[in-house]
Assembly symmetry: D2
Homo-oligomer: 300 residues x 4
Amino acid sequence: MKIGFVGTGTMGQPMLSNLLKKGHGVVAYDVVAAMLDGAVGRGASRAGSAAEAAKQSELVITMLPSSSHVETAYLGGGGILEGAPSGRLCIDMSTIDPGASRRVAEAAKKRGVRFVDAPVSGGVPRAEDGTLAIMVGGEARDVEEAKPVLACMGANIIHVGPVGSGEVAKICNNLIAGVAAVAVSEAFRIAEGFGVDAKVLTEVISKSSGNTWVMEHMHPVPGLVGKAPANRDYAPGFMTDLMAKDLGLAVSAARDLRVPVFVSPAAQQVLRLASSHGLGRKDFSVVYEFLRPSSRQAPV
Amino acid sequence: MKIGFVGTGTMGQPMLSNLLKKGHGVVAYDVVAAMLDGAVGRGASRAGSAAEAAKQSELVITMLPSSSHVETAYLGGGGILEGAPSGRLCIDMSTIDPGASRRVAEAAKKRGVRFVDAPVSGGVPRAEDGTLAIMVGGEARDVEEAKPVLACMGANIIHVGPVGSGEVAKICNNLIAGVAAVAVSEAFRIAEGFGVDAKVLTEVISKSSGNTWVMEHMHPVPGLVGKAPANRDYAPGFMTDLMAKDLGLAVSAARDLRVPVFVSPAAQQVLRLASSHGLGRKDFSVVYEFLRPSSRQAPV
Amino acid sequence: MKIGFVGTGTMGQPMLSNLLKKGHGVVAYDVVAAMLDGAVGRGASRAGSAAEAAKQSELVITMLPSSSHVETAYLGGGGILEGAPSGRLCIDMSTIDPGASRRVAEAAKKRGVRFVDAPVSGGVPRAEDGTLAIMVGGEARDVEEAKPVLACMGANIIHVGPVGSGEVAKICNNLIAGVAAVAVSEAFRIAEGFGVDAKVLTEVISKSSGNTWVMEHMHPVPGLVGKAPANRDYAPGFMTDLMAKDLGLAVSAARDLRVPVFVSPAAQQVLRLASSHGLGRKDFSVVYEFLRPSSRQAPV
Amino acid sequence: MKIGFVGTGTMGQPMLSNLLKKGHGVVAYDVVAAMLDGAVGRGASRAGSAAEAAKQSELVITMLPSSSHVETAYLGGGGILEGAPSGRLCIDMSTIDPGASRRVAEAAKKRGVRFVDAPVSGGVPRAEDGTLAIMVGGEARDVEEAKPVLACMGANIIHVGPVGSGEVAKICNNLIAGVAAVAVSEAFRIAEGFGVDAKVLTEVISKSSGNTWVMEHMHPVPGLVGKAPANRDYAPGFMTDLMAKDLGLAVSAARDLRVPVFVSPAAQQVLRLASSHGLGRKDFSVVYEFLRPSSRQAPV
């Protein structure tokens, strides 16, 4: 199938490579010329605009960094809705505000264009392996149609609910994971202060009410869990900047919905601050490193 | 064995009943007469002070509500250290500040008295069944000596490390569990606002990085996990007031250690506020109920 | 002058009444029919759309509840930019995201239309008296032109800087005021817990580093400052819902700018939660009432 | 008068120098030999213990770094209550937990010893000048008796209420000042992100509801207020470590009183974290510096 691919950044490029490997044609577009060159280098053909990528293909995929990029790519001048004929299916794989997904879907619907949201988990390594987890929101028929294409890029594809639900599932999952990483870091810093052995404590908690996926798989304290980013100087994994972004989406969604939230903004801000202090490109479990105790020298 | 039991409150009473059932003698003391009467009604004999309970027994157990109660019971006038002969083993099963455990242990040591901390998990139901989880801090020899007695009250007894380590393990575990409950509540309130099905979302998260023991076993949203407190109007389980207390111990410990913490005070305060608004005696997963969205009626 | 007035809600109506009183003609529009009827009842003529209000007038004022309302009113179908001829001056008096002000201003500029942001302080009472404080962002020439019209509605008109600066000044001021109200409430709840006299404490703080406008003019503890909302059961003043909205704008702006913030989201969320629990229409100093201590009955 | 002075640290030394200058005799004690040497170098005579300092003098002053130091100095072995005869007046000028002040006062009362708490504001410069602000808690008669001595060290002496009230006033004032400094920093970081002039914004806020003593006198943005620490690379002024300590006292007091607090722990923790990252000895307005935005380079 000929696939229009808009947004050929760090994640988009390995994703479109997998589409090409599985025999699809790809016509790519990106506002950043260097990124589009990269996609062409991988074997995609070049479109002059998002509209053109949509016009020259049978299905459109977008993979962009933020809600406003997605809204511009679909709704703006030279955007996808200008090029896509009635009936066309568009799959947005960006991680954005679920409200933005719904606004774009509604605008698409008015033009007879179909839209599903399908954000991914797993980062660049799993994008390269074609084993991303993909959470999808949209009408059942559209999601069924999208699945074979998504299966070229991911290994675990879940239909969560109506349009926007993929985004909701992703940001809600990441809200919990992000907060858990901060909580585990705080707990182990306290234990460390009392001289309690982190390995023993990990065993105790793993069998108790404090157990979390985060501690089991990406323990923030170095030396405890084999493949954890903590054991390779917090090389990601999932970058602090991206977790701060996803927590930001969660907190903004809460604001729009008038839901009071407390631990998610606290986690968001401490990750944001860690980024300000140079840790944005490290795995987000580096927050353990950031939350180091201050010196015990007590001023009077 | 003749056991001195100081602190015969809601938890202490079923615990001493289990000691009696297993054939031990219990000499009890409590500053609150009504509570001591309860213990006597269960078959304990009555001591006139903590010192007397210590003098008339071969081993001392304390089960008290706070650090200052424990310090007074051991160090105060008429306290355990006045009555306990050199060599006596004392087991403090209260949940208190690990620093307080260490101060008491040090004072005890000066009098030749041995001390282990052994806080429990599981609440009144498991206190009654004699299946509490018990985390123990102390010297190996003392912990070995304590184990047969602890086994009358609990099913899972773990030696974590030196004195205070039992407390550290408990408050660190509960820090994570308490924060996780708030995080899960926030996530599901957001999902709800977008109309996403909570059952489907639970399945998605349970297989992803946001998974936590708390969601699996005590999901705050009613109707999703069979035995969760949410399905019986948040009957505890583990009371909001107790979780607020344990988070308070964690935050205070962090302060003393100069460890910066962000999500634990946020969780502590929202549970404290839930208690102010009448939810202190409900299971702490009731925070989901408390974090309800405000009305959407938008003022200009 | 003939003035188009879009957004005739609780604030907009007394504001347009003052324009009429000063001899201007007003052609009004609101998407809510009942509100538009109210404006007509006050003497405005009725437009069928925002575009029509813009076409039939010499200057346009907008007073709307949120960023998205403003973007729709200017940029949407039937919006102001469809009706306003080149050269027309538009004054947006809504409290919205400064980024949204700039997006609208830029779109307006492309059509040759001039735009200034001019959010107000003072609430309904000062809207009725025509004594609002107005913070203005825009080009000097445009602001000069706007001033005589703004002077019909306000008493204190400040040109802060380029477009968006009026909004920035308002949300930054309200960030501090909102946080201060929570801080003062926390301080006086603590003092109260220790039985310290609130009047004496107020005198001490008023001469020290903790002094704030908020404590001096709208002390959250009843009985201390004559005209404070606390003395009339927290009748606003400035509603909790509006302060939560403004803190939300500040926190969202911080997110977009990647500025880490801690006390503003904490204040935002506690006001949002107070609103969930029925206090949204009270003055925001009611947060003192909301932060009441929980009962001292200590569970074991 | 012969004055016993216990705690001869950075603050204590200039304070006892002022007592000597005004003609009093000082008999000093400190657990740290080097500090006691310093006091002797200034003209004090040397005591071998706190008890001895109390026995050899007519009035006792203590100036110590924490609640536990004060409790040990009064209640411990070789402590003040061992040496002070019945009727003696003790003035504790340390900044500590008001609850600790009351516990010490109560223990003193049992021995017939009188106790007032009298924490100070103004730091080393005003300790040297003898112009400290002193907030006093205690019985009227005792406070009257203390005043002439306090007047040797301070210029502004306020009787707040019963024992502990001096501490309450200090920590409540500092709670608000500390939170305000963070709020002002957040506001000006946001304004800066939008390119709004900080000088103009300061003028606007100074006349509006966001005005605070902190912004007027110790504006965290360099270049705006003449004598602000920001203009001398955040040389204190009042150190971040001390403000973190005082906010910690406020948050702990709130915990003991079961008062829910939100902005004070948020401010406490961000100052604690700033200290972890090397800013503990700078003025606490340095939090503005710490809250710098993270780089705008957006990851996909």
